[in-house]
């Protein structure tokens, strides 16, 4: 096993980042998908990850949601280790109990929405607050109605997902994630499975969240214009590493690396 003794048990200081990857590595057998990644995201920051497929960008989000374990390094959320816990003065891989304690900080939306098909829109939103946070049904309903209102889905609250369009389902999925009141929201290619004409209804919801809430957000997206508009910072991934990062104007307007330029011109040609 890899030596983690150089890594801190907790991040301290004046500005503890909301998310911190320290020397994180992920491999499937011989295939290295994330290679020694260091990445800090500050409280309230909105960061977009772009890059070619297979560059490891979705894996970054999946490791944060604890859907994938890490093979090396440590991820910290809100200063505390997420993927590991301290035991006998050492960092060891987290057990399920530790993961459940840390996961409350994180919410995620998926490419294919993954709404629970046997529940209506509002039941989808209420499920976590009632079952996991222990809210009463009326509290959870009130919270869910507010959020469905926010995403413009209140008039469809009693519909099952099968009766909703992709854009509508994704908006309900955003409300479901927000109902847990996470500090961090992860958006994994949330518009990739949508018809072009409904992409706007989902991106507008996210734009409003960025403008009006102090969430820390991490997005993987192929919508370059959207990423440029909403992000504080854009990371270009290549081969499991951050090839280049910077403000949207820097990265899109004046990319420094050859691979970034190639990728951006290939994306522009595709439109």
């Amino acid at each position: 096993m890899q030596d983690l003794s150089a890594l801190p048990h907790e991040l301290t200081g004046n500005t503890v980042p909301m998310i911190s990857f320290k020397s994180v590595r992920k491999a499937y057998g011989d295939l290295v998908v994330i290679n020694d990644l260091d990445l800090d995201i500050q409280v309230g920051e909105t960061v977009s990850i772009i890059g070619p497929s297979g560059s490891g960008k979705t894996t970054v989000l999946r490791m944060l949601m604890t859907l994938e374990d890490v093979n090396g390094g440590v991820i910290y959320v809100d200063g505390k280790p997420l993927t590991h816990m301290v035991k006998n003065g050492k960092l060891v891989p987290a057990n399920e109990r530790h993961l459940r304690k840390q996961r409350v900080n994180i919410g995620m939306c998926f490419q294919h929405f993954n709404l629970f098909p046997h529940m209506t829109a509002i039941e989808n939103c209420m499920e976590g607050p009632v079952q996991v946070l222990g809210l009463s049904k009326s509290e959870a309903r009130e919270r869910s109605e507010e959020l469905l209102e926010l995403v413009g889905m209140i008039d469809k609250k009693d519909q099952h997902p099968a009766r909703l369009s992709g854009g509508q389902q994704q908006r309900v999925a955003i409300a479901r994630a927000l109902a847990m009141r996470p500090k961090v929201m992860l958006f994994d290619e949330v518009t990739s499975a949508l018809d072009p004409e409904v992409i706007g209804e989902v991106t507008n919801v996210i734009r409003n969240l960025v403008a009006e809430h102090n969430l820390t957000m991490l997005l993987v997206t192929h919508q370059m214009g959207f990423a440029r508009d909403i992000s504080d910072r854009v990371c270009f991934f290549f081969g499991g590493k951050i090839e280049e990062q910077g403000s949207p104007d820097q990265l899109f307007g004046n990319p420094q690396r050859e691979r970034t330029r190639q990728f951006l011109s290939a994306v522009r040609e595709a439109i």
Partner: protein, 219 residues
């Protein structure tokens, strides 16, 4: 035929009642066993998985009649005596449970991976994920094959007549032994089993499927 029915309908009716009772008891036991061993088969613990696999192999791989005789005739030799009615539905239920466990396993595996991930993303415990998210969807997926299994179960209960449980088949054999009206008595039994399966069991399963489909918003 009519004279025959007029004469023997009380015995056929009481036999049918016992058959239905055997069916219901075996069904409850079988569903419970299916759930336990279907989940055990998916366990990450090798021992739990091994126990489930052994159970399924033994009860699927050997004859129901032999299992029935074991429970009724052999277990008393080890000091465990069970009355014939109980031995009957236990044998049939345990047998059908082995098949059902495979249905439960398949049903759970048929739920898309994204559902597990979404349940993790709202921070559910493993137990909550299974009970609230995965099992309800798995249940819908496995209802049609369960309909088949329930018909198999009903017909399987005819074997309990071999340990003198007074079910429909037992009554039919008794009547046949005293009257030699084989065509009439086994004809009547045939029709009664068919009616139970076709006009009682199948509509029940269809109704269940419709209710579950509505719960998923599919209908």
């Amino acid at each position: 035929m009519l004279d025959f029915l007029v004469l023997y309908w009380p015995r056929l009716l009481s036999g049918t009642g016992i058959t239905i009772a055997q069916f219901l008891a075996a069904a409850v036991l079988g569903v419970a066993i299916s759930l336990v061993f279907g989940l055990a088969k998916l366990s990450s613990t090798l021992i739990v998985r091994g126990i489930a696999t052994t159970y399924i192999e033994v009860f699927r791989g050997t004859s129901l009649v032999v299992q029935l005789y074991w429970i009724f005739f052999v277990l008393p030799l080890f000091g465990l005596t069970i009355d014939n009615f109980t031995a009957g539905y236990i044998a049939v239920g345990m047998n059908i449970g082995a098949y059902g466990a495979e249905l439960v396993r398949g049903g759970i595996l048929s739920v898309p991976k994204g559902q597990w991930e979404a349940a993790v993303a709202v921070n559910m415990s493993g137990f909550q994920r299974m009970r609230r998210i995965i099992l309800p969807q798995a249940l819908v997926n496995m209802l049609p094959p369960w309909g088949n299994l329930m018909i198999e179960l009903l017909k399987g209960t005819a074997l309990v007549s071999l340990i003198s449980v007074g079910d429909l088949m037992f009554q039919a054999r008794q009547i046949n032994a005293s009257t030699f009206l084989s065509a009439q008595v086994f004809g009547a039994a045939l029709i009664i089993y068919y009616i139970l399966a076709r006009f009682m069991l199948t509509p029940c399963m269809r109704w269940l499927e419709r209710v579950m489909a509505r719960k998923l918003g599919r209908a």
